[in-house]
Symmetry: C2
Subunit: 427 residues, 2 copies
C-alpha cells in the first residue's frame, strides 16, 4: 500500500488529484452503445433476439422467464442460502421502512393552501448482472426499497443463461419483482427505456452493470431516471491504536477482492498500527482464494494515510468521501458527528463492512468515487416523487396581486402579470 504523509493540505492535494483521475469519462463504449440503443428503439424484440445471439450466444424463444423456472428455483436453492436471504430481507425491510416520507400541508394565510404529496414512481426496471457477478444480495437491495416506496410494477432484466442462479430468481420473487426478462447489456437498458413489443417501458432504471450497461444508462438518462453510475468499490477505514490489525486487514481485503480497480484506504494516527495492518494483509493474502484480484488491487490502489490526530483523520477521510467508512476506534459512535461525507458508516471494531453488504439492513448500493459529497445510498427516496401543490382563492390572489405583478413586470413577463390581473374582481 502506498503511504501518504505530510500536512493535511499536502495530502488533500494528492487525494484531489487522484479523484480527478478516477472520475475521468470513459467514452470508448459510447459509439457502439448508441448504435445498439437506436436499433432496439427501431426494431424492438427482434433486435433483442439478434443481440442475445451475438453477445450471449443464446437463441431466445421466450424473453420472459417463466413462472415455472422461478418455482423450480425455490426447489433448487440451498436451504441455508434461502434462510439467510429471508433474514436479510427482514432486516433490509425494517431499516428502509424508516425512510418512508409523508407529505405536508399548511395554510399560511387566508385563502391559501400549500402542500407536498409523496407518490411512488409507477414502473421501475432493475438490471441484474449475469454470470459470476450475479449477486442475490443486490437483487434485494435494489428491489425492496422500490417495493416499500409503493412502486406499482417492478421489472427485472438479467442476461440470458442456460441455468439461472436459483438464488437470483428466488431473491427476485421474494423481494416482489413482478416480471423477469432475460436480456442483458445495453440492449436490455434500451428495452427498459423505450419499451418493446414484450418489455414495458419503465420510468426509472436501477442496478449495477459493466461498462456497456453503465454507458447505456447514461445515454437514456433524461428519458428515464437512473440511480447512479457506480465507479469501482471503495472502503475507507479510520483506525487508531485501539484497532485490531487482523480485523482491519480482513476488511480492507474484503473490498479489494471485488475488483482490481477497487480501492482500500486506511487513515490512522498510529504508524505502529499501519505497520501491523500491512503485515496482516500480507499474511492473509497468502491463503485468500481471490488473491489474484485482491493483491493488485491492494498494491495499486491501497493507500495508508498517516494523520496527526483524530480531527485530522476525519478531515482527511471527509475528503476521500468513501463509499464505505469503518471507524475502528473504541468509542466509534461518539465520532459520528465528525462524518460529513460517506455512503455507509460501520462503527466499532466488530462492525465489519460485509455485515452491511449482506445483512444489517442499510443499503449496499452506495455512492462511489467521492460522490458521497453530494449523493446518498439507494433508498426509498429514490423511488418516490414529491409533488407540490398550491391553492389560492380569489381573495388571496387579489391580496398578492401587487407583489406578483411587480415581479412579473420587472422580469419583462407581461403575460405572467396579466394572468394575475384577469382574476381581479374588477374584471
Amino acid at each position: 500500500m502506498k503511504r501518504l504523509t505530510g500536512t493535511n493540505d499536502e495530502i488533500a492535494k494528492i487525494l484531489s488529484q487522484e479523484q480527478l483521475e478516477l472520475s475521468k469519462e470513459n467514452l470508448d463504449a459510447e459509439a457502439t452503445v448508441r448504435e445498439i440503443i437506436e436499433r432496439v428503439k427501431e426494431e424492438g424484440d427482434e433486435a433483442l433476439r439478434a443481440y442475445s445471439k451475438k453477445f450471449d450466444q443464446v437463441e431466445l424463444f421466450d424473453l420472459q422467464v417463466s413462472d415455472q423456472a422461478i418455482n423450480e428455483a425455490f426447489d433448487k436453492i440451498d436451504r441455508d442460502v434461502l434462510s439467510a436471504l429471508q433474514n436479510a430481507k427482514a432486516n433490509i425491510e425494517s431499516y428502509h421502512k424508516q425512510q418512508l416520507e409523508t407529505g405536508f400541508e399548511d395554510q399560511p394565510s387566508q385563502g391559501v393552501i400549500r402542500g407536498q404529496l409523496i407518490r411512488p414512481i409507477e414502473r421501475v426496471g432493475v438490471y441484474v448482472p449475469g454470470g459470476t457477478a450475479a449477486y442475490p444480495s443486490s437483487v434485494l437491495m435494489n428491489v425492496l426499497p422500490a417495493k416499500i416506496a409503493g412502486v406499482k410494477e417492478i421489472i427485472m432484466i438479467t442476461p440470458p443463461q442456460k441455468d439461472f442462479n436459483p438464488a437470483i430468481l428466488v431473491a427476485a420473487k421474494m423481494a416482489g419483482v413482478d416480471k423477469i426478462y432475460q436480456v442483458g447489456g445495453s440492449q436490455g437498458i434500451a428495452a427498459l427505456a423505450y419499451g418493446t413489443q414484450t418489455i414495458p417501458k419503465v420510468d426509472k432504471i436501477t442496478g449495477p452493470g459493466n461498462i456497456f450497461v453503465a454507458t447505456a444508462k447514461k445515454l437514456v438518462y433524461g428519458l428515464v431516471g437512473i440511480d447512479m453510475i457506480a465507479g469501482p468499490s471503495e472502503i475507507g477505514v479510520i483506525a487508531d491504536e485501539t484497532a485490531h490489525p487482523a480485523y482491519v486487514a480482513a476488511d480492507l481485503l474484503s473490498q479489494a477482492e471485488h475488483d482490481v480497480r477497487a480501492r482500500a484506504i486506511l487513515v490512522t494516527d498510529s504508524e505502529e498500527l499501519a505497520d501491523a495492518v500491512e503485515a496482516e494483509i500480507e499474511r492473509q493474502l497468502q491463503t485468500l482464494p481471490r488473491q489474484t484480484i485482491a493483491r493488485p488491487s491492494i498494491e495499486n490502489n491501497g493507500r495508508i494515510i498517516i494523520a496527526q490526530d483524530a480531527d485530522s483523520m476525519f478531515e482527511l477521510m471527509n475528503l476521500v468521501a468513501p463509499e464505505h467508512l469503518e471507524i475502528a476506534m473504541d468509542k466509534a459512535y461518539d465520532y459520528l458527528d465528525k462524518v460529513q461525507n460517506a455512503g455507509s458508516v460501520f462503527l466499532g471494531h466488530y462492525t465489519s463492512e460485509p455485515i452491511g453488504d449482506y445483512y444489517a439492513g442499510a443499503n449496499h448500493v452506495l455512492p462511489t468515487t467521492a460522490t458521497s459529497r453530494f449523493s446518498s445510498a439507494l433508498g426509498v427516496h429514490d423511488f418516490i416523487k414529491r409533488i407540490q401543490y398550491t391553492q389560492y382563492d380569489q381573495y388571496a390572489v387579489n391580496q398578492a396581486e401587487k407583489d406578483i405583478t411587480t415581479l412579473a413586470y420587472a422580469e419583462g413577463l407581461q403575460a405572467h402579470a396579466r394572468a394575475i390581473e384577469v382574476r381581479h374582481d374588477k374584471h
Copy 2:
C-alpha cells in the same frame, strides 16, 4: 393549437411519440464545451479571463463581484420590487422549511444499532443567467432551499456585465449567497466543478442556463452533483365546463411567452370550453407585448386534448407528466388524488401558475419533458445527503455469522466471509 382526439390509447401513443422527440439529445455543443472545460481545468483564472473577453466582450479585473457593488444594488433597486422579493422570500422559506428531514435510529436486536444521518452538502454553486433571462425569482428559488438545508457555503456565478440587474444582486444577498463571481457559460460551470485560483470547487451545481451551460453541467456530472437538465417549460391545464376561458387562456399564454419552444397543453372534457379558450387566446394575443414569442409557441406546441370524462382527463395528463399542472375545476382539491405525475399543481380557478413562479412558496425549478414521472421540484432534499450507519457488537456479529458467511460463500466472495469469521470469539 393542435387538437388530439380519439381513444385514450390513441392519444397516449401520440403523446409518447412527441415526448421521444422532445427528449432527443442535443450533441451539437459538446465538442466546443469539452474544449472549454479542459482549458479551464488546465489554466484556471487565466482561461476564464480569456473566455470572458471572447464571449462576453469584457476585460475582467476582479472575478468576484464586490461588496460595494452589492450594497449599491440595494440603493438602486425599485422599492416595490424589493418589498415583493422580501415577501416572496418569506413564503419560499416557510414552504421549504417543511421539507427538512431528520435522521432515524433503531436497535432492532441485541447489540445492533442502525440509523441514518442527514448532512447538508458542504459547498454549492448556483448559476444565474445574464441579460434578459436574469430572473431574481430564480435566485431565491435556487438559493433558499440550499440555505435551509444548512449548506455551509453558497457560491453564485453570473455572466460579467457593465451594470448588473440590481434585483439579482439583492436577491442573492437576501437569500444568503456567500460569494458572487462574474463568469458565465460553460467556462463558469467548469470553474465551479474544478475550482480555479479564485473560485472554489463546489460539490453540487444548480441553476438554469443556455445550451452551453446545460451541456457543461451534463459533462461535469459525476465529478460534482447537478440539479437537472431542464428542457422547454410546460404547462398542462385540466379544465371542465366550470372553467373560465379567459383565465385558462391567460395561463396558457403566460407559459407560451417564455420561449418559442415552450409547451401549453389543455386537456378538457368540454369541446365548448376548448373552442372558447382558443377564441380567448387569439383575443389576448392581439395585445400581448411578447406575442412574437407566444404566438409561434402556442401554434406549434399548443395542444388541446379532448377527453371523455374526468378520469380520462387525469389519465392522459399523467402521461403528459407536465412541469406545471393547473386543475381548473370547481372542486379541484378533491382531484389531487388522481395526480400521479406533475412538478407543481395549481388548484382551482384562481390559482394561476405565475402565483407559483414568483410567490406562493413552492419551488419553480421543476422537472420538464415528462421527467416528473421520476423526479421532483428542487427542494431542501437536493441539498442534503443521507448517511447510513450500523453498529454490531461482538455478540451480534457472531449471531449473524452463519447467515452472512453463507451468502458470502454463495457469491464466491471468501474475503467477505473471512472478515466476519475473524471476529468470532474462537479466534
